[in-house]
């Protein structure tokens, strides 16, 4: 089972679009990962995160929709499996003075530990109380850990940055349902 983690960044939504895209690199990484995930993933997210997930899935479907009849070799190309999981979550929002939650000295350490847990295939290894204090959105990760055993060797990081004082990751991983 394929699993993808994306952050619940509202700036990804077309309804908040500007003339310039402030999250172009993140958007590209998210769309590539969701395309890898395959059609019709189950979404594990907050209601706000579900909107981000719905946009990403819809955008991938519209981009994959053929504009012209496909040549035979394209039809024969391997397609992503169905039944993946799209998790919407992110690290702290208190990493800098300009961050939404202002600077909290504990943020960098918290995010480092969470990054280590995620890349080790342990998405549920997170301090939920501290996450709330640091404005981190980790509920999806806890729910994922309850449902899926992630193969640590499968985890790859497509995006890892905090452009607005908020820690974002785009990760791909594989696992089996518990």
């Amino acid at each position: 089972m394929r699993v993808v983690l994306v952050p619940g960044v509202l700036a990804l939504l077309p309804s908040y679009g500007g003339l310039e895209d402030p999250v172009a690199e993140l958007r590209s990484a998210c769309l590539d990962a969701v395309a890898w995930l395959g059609a019709g993933p189950r979404v594990v997210a907050s209601p706000q995160g579900e909107r981000v997930a719905a946009y990403l899935c819809g955008e991938v479907v519209s981009r994959l929709a053929p504009l012209a009849p496909q040549p035979p070799q394209a039809l024969a190309a391997p397609r992503p499996p169905v039944g993946g999981v799209l998790v919407v979550a992110n690290g702290s929002a208190t990493r800098t003075e300009k961050a939404p939650g202002h600077l909290d000295d504990r943020a960098l350490g918290f995010d480092d530990e969470l990054r280590a847990a995620l890349t080790a295939g342990r998405p549920g290894a997170v301090d939920a109380d501290l996450a709330r204090e640091l404005w981190a959105d980790v509920d999806g990760l806890v729910r994922l850990a309850q449902e899926v055993d992630v193969d640590p060797a499968s985890v790859s990081v497509d995006y890892d940055a905090d452009p607005f004082g908020v820690q974002y990751w785009v990760m791909r991983m594989e696992g089996v349902r518990r």
Binding site: V9, L10, A11, Y16, G18, L19, P22, A93, A99, F164
Partner: protein, 287 residues
């Protein structure tokens, strides 16, 4: 309506800055600052850098003064238009003239638009615009003679007069063969109008926009701003921008200006408030 100004097309929702470039020794605002050809060319280069889509080149000041015949007007603008055309192929070149003879010469030199600030005083100007595929600005002057000041002018309804005259002019242009998408109407603030007329035209500009013809406004540093605020030329920018904001909210498409940067910011801000343009880059609260 999509705008086609000579060689250049603009989307339905585009607003355009028309920067004033005077080849005159005596215009009210710059007082001859760009009278010399090299200074005028520097002005063109500056306003292009500032983002103006159009330059409006004029060889005669609007106010009364020394008579400038067609030959002298052509001497002031035709070669200059050719020089600008060669240096700035992507720029819309408008020429502020009411004379068909001058219009023909500047179109041959590469002009895209004829800005008839005197409301069809020369009836053959529309034929020139049609022949060259040029845009045409149809203004309202209340029938004023070119280069005269208003004197005890009154209207039953100045906005109705402006609409009837400019739309009538636009339809004459259309009948003469000017493309529909190349015709713009302009209420012409201060032209054939006292300050109360110009304020009312500003307040009710949405009625002109509702005609469906693209609307140009020329507000920059004019006397109606000065009289409203009791400020001389040189201190009217804030008032100009306030009037600009009102016209932008009403939906004016083209802004004839001295100050490009400030007007562009004002129009973009209002256009965005009106929901016709997204913010440049929005991330606050959306991280």
């Amino acid at each position: 309506m999509t705008l086609r100004l000579g060689r250049h097309d603009f989307d339905d929702d585009a607003t355009l800055m028309m920067a004033i470039v005077n080849r005159t020794p005596d215009s009210f605002y710059d007082k001859g600052a760009t009278w010399a050809e090299d200074k005028a060319f520097e002005r063109v280069r500056l306003v292009v850098e500032q983002g103006a889509e159009i330059v409006d080149i004029g060889g005669i000041k609007a106010a009364p003064g020394v008579e400038i015949d067609a030959a002298e007007e052509k001497a002031r603008v035709v070669d200059f238009v050719a020089q600008v055309r060669e240096s700035f192929p992507g720029l819309v070149i408008s020429v502020d003239t009411w004379r068909a003879e001058v219009g023909r010469a500047v179109c041959e030199a590469g002009a895209d638009v004829l800005n008839d600030a005197w409301g069809g005083a020369d009836p053959e100007l529309v034929d020139v615009a049609a022949e060259f595929g040029a845009g045409l600005i149809c203004t309202h002057t209340g029938g004023a003679t070119p280069r005269t000041r208003p004197y005890r002018v009154e209207y039953d309804d100045v906005v109705r007069s402006a609409i009837e005259d400019t739309v009538g002019y636009a339809e004459r242009a259309l009948a003469a063969g000017v493309a529909r998408e190349s015709i713009v109407i302009d209420p012409a603030h201060d032209f054939g109008k006292n300050t109360f007329h110009s304020l009312e035209v500003t307040r009710r500009l949405d009625e002109m926009v509702a005609t469906g013809w693209p609307v140009l406004v020329s507000l920059s540093n004019k006397d109606f701003v000065g009289e409203t605020l009791d400020l001389p030329v040189g201190e009217r920018l804030t008032g100009t921008l306030a009037a600009t904001a009102v016209c932008a909210l009403a939906g004016a498409r083209v802004y004839r200006v001295h100050e490009v940067v400030e007007t562009r910011q004002t129009v973009d801000m209002v256009w965005t408030i009106a929901g016709r343009r997204p913010p440049r880059r929005a991330i606050r609260g959306l991280q």
